[in-house]
């Protein structure tokens, strides 16, 4: 067993790794190419940084290519991203042309690589038109949508549909995200990497150092919400909940930590609003963190007694998964992928109002044993279902199902 797999075996279990190795044996030497739009930053890059070397270690010839684009390309793809998430955006004919021209240029650059592949995974909308530049392809081409596409802005989806529909298959994170397409739509929820900086065990003094840096008292009750400053994450609702609880638990502290909002005017406005509401209360910590503050976020989640994700709308909610991995019960909004992870009285509570969140916060601070038990259950649930090893298993299963016959039961000898 290789070193990387060994490290995951110590977390996920040797049976899980043996299972992956058996699947990998059936795919030895197969050429797999992943294509996305960035090498660093964002959830897709995070996943590929682990998934690609793991596939290589299992004996699959796996590579990762990145689309090179200009400013107008990324402006167009940002609109597409927002449109897929339901925002009513417009993509002009000029923007469409500029977008397709960049992808065509990339197709020439990647032609040899993609022509010799057995399976090509195209991640998200940015490289989606690539498939049209390979009309005589022999590989299986799969479009992987990482975005909450449950209610896309229709003109944007109609435009993307013409590319996506020509793929051999697509992958969505949840059943509700799937669309009307003429090919099989696989369902693979996202995952976290337990060995990444964001999730790895931290020394106690590092956690204490982070607490000290931000003036947090780790000995006093602490609730934490990690997410960007976005109205759908309801940071104002978190403060309302905190104030409702504070009457009963005066030393309560709350941390609202998210990425820098300097390039996002809407995010900046919400951050300003949150700061204004929090003004004068030293037990409310509003933290604007750089995009690479993974260990700081890890420490904040680990020092919390309860983690909140009081979203009003959510794709999958990987911050919930991260908190659960750190043995924390989560109080989350009753939306999207949070429903798949937070189960009332087992791994946390789902709520719909600040009052509901306040009630559950009080309950969990009162019921210490229950809080600990729920945290343990949350950790086990993530270990069994939402680690990168499960994600990898489903990719391998998908490749086997696509490259063998099309029946629902594939028996390999």
């Amino acid at each position: 067993m290789g070193s990387m797999l060994e490290r995951y075996a110590s977390i996920a279990g040797t049976d899980v790794i043996h299972h992956l190795m058996h699947l990998g044996n059936l795919l030895q030497g197969m050429k797999i190419v992943h294509v996305n739009s960035t090498r660093e930053g964002g959830g897709v890059a995070e996943i590929l940084h682990t998934l690609v070397p793991l596939m290589q270690e299992l004996g699959l010839e796996t590579s990762w290519e990145v689309i090179e684009g200009n400013e107008s390309f990324f402006t167009a793809t940002k609109s597409m991203h927002n449109g897929l998430q339901g925002k009513p955006v417009e993509l002009t004919a000029e923007q469409q042309q500029a977008f397709e021209k960049v992808v065509a240029d990339n197709a020439e650059r990647l032609r040899n690589k993609l022509s010799s592949a057995d399976v090509v995974f195209i991640h998200d909308p940015q490289p989606a038109p690539l498939i049209q530049m390979f009309p005589s392809r022999s590989a299986k081409w799969i479009w992987r949508c990482h975005i909450d596409s449950s209610r896309p802005h229709r003109p944007i989806w109609r435009y993307l549909h013409r590319f996506v529909n020509t793929y051999d298959a697509s992958i969505f994170s949840l059943p509700g995200f799937a669309q009307r397409l003429d090919h099989p739509q696989y369902l693979i929820p996202p995952s976290i990497d337990p060995l990444a900086d964001k999730n790895i065990e931290l020394p106690r003094d590092e956690i204490e150092q982070v607490a000290q840096t931000f003036g947090i008292d780790p000995e006093q009750p602490l609730i934490v919400q990690i997410s960007r400053f976005d109205r759908f994450k309801d940071p104002v609702g978190v403060i309302e909940s905190y104030r409702l609880v504070k009457r009963f638990i005066p030393p309560l502290q709350v941390v609202l930590a998210g990425g820098s909002a300097t390039d996002d005017p809407e995010g900046k406005a919400i951050l300003d609003e949150v700061r204004e509401i929090a003004c004068g209360d030293e037990q409310i910590h509003v933290l604007e963190l750089p995009p690479d503050a993974h260990r700081t976020i890890n420490a904040l989640q680990r020092m919390a007694h309860i983690v909140l994700q009081k979203s009003l709308r959510e794709g999958f909610g990987l911050t919930v998964t991260e908190a659960m991995w750190k043995h924390k019960p989560v109080i989350g909004g009753d939306v999207g992928g949070i429903r798949l992870q937070v189960v009332d009285y087992h791994t946390g509570f789902r709520v719909s109002t600040p009052e509901g969140a306040a009630l559950r916060i009080r309950y969990l601070f009162q019921q210490h044993e229950m809080r600990v038990a729920m945290g343990e259950k949350a950790h086990d649930y993530v270990r069994d279902h939402f680690l990168i090893t499960r994600h990898l298993r489903e990719y391998l299963t998908l490749i086997l199902s696509l490259t063998h016959n099309q029946t629902d039961r594939i028996e390999l000898t």
Partner: protein, 237 residues
């Protein structure tokens, strides 16, 4: 269809042939969307009439190998949805009691589910609707089955082998076996039958395991304990 052992080892003249080795297999399941969604009971029934039978397999057994919470109120997706999204506790209980292993094939199971729903539809004056973001999504799945290169020669190897098995192996040899074997049951019990009367006691203990009310991890643990214990008793007698 592959079997982990040769089907029946009883020769035509009644004597027992030498038992075949047990080939440990594994499987992986992946879910797919069918594109069908239901928002009320009538829509659920109408889709059930048309959806491919394999969808029933996924909604009754698939949860065991898919990401999802194992300690659910009810053991199939239909009952869960009816209870939590349509708030019809009566029908949820009626659907939950349907044990898929009691039906010879998926078509029979399909008709049992449909008849249960239709009976309830006759009783209801008003249909409840689920919110748009909580519709029932009909899924189906693909099951990939493969060898693990592990072969057992004797029943005494079973407990250790089971404790090392993946959840996929347990699913294949217990859950999938019930659908695959003409006489039902699981592969372990079927293999032990080849050894004649000497493992009758172990087989009887295995018959008491109800895989429909447990997780694969717990099932693996239970099987290991039961077989280990029964083999010890066998050795003493």
């Amino acid at each position: 269809m592959n079997m982990p052992y040769m089907p029946s080892q009883i020769a035509s003249h009644g004597s027992i042939l030498k038992p075949q080795p047990f080939i440990v297999r594994d499987c992986a399941l992946i879910a797919l969307a069918t594109g069908r969604r239901a928002q009320n009971l009538k829509e659920l029934r109408n889709h059930l009439l048309e959806v491919k039978a394999e969808s029933l397999y996924t909604h009754f057994w698939g949860y065991m190998l898919q990401p999802g919470f194992e300690e659910r109120d009810y053991n199939n997706d239909f009952a869960e949805w009816v209870r939590h999204q349509l708030h019809d506790r009566i029908l949820a209980e009626q659907l939950a009691v349907i044990d898929p292993s009691e039906y010879e094939n998926l078509e029979e199971l399909r008709w049992e589910v449909i008849e249960t729903i239709e009976h309830r539809l006759d009783e209801l004056e008003v249909l409840n609707w689920s919110p748009p973001d909580r519709q029932f999504h009909f899924l189906y799945s693909k099951l990939v089955i493969f060898h693990t290169n592990r072969v057992l020669q004797h029943p005494s190897e079973l407990p250790d082998a089971i404790s090392d098995m993946s959840s996929g192996s347990i699913f294949y040899h217990v859950i999938d076996a019930a659908r695959r074997l003409p006489e039902g049951g699981d592969d372990f019990k079927a293999w032990l039958q080849q050894w004649g009367q000497q493992y009758q006691h172990v087989q009887s203990r295995l018959e008491q395991v109800d895989p429909y009310f447990t997780s694969l991890t717990h099932l693996r643990h239970s099987l290991e304990i039961i077989i280990r214990h029964a083999l010890t008793l066998n050795g003493r007698s």
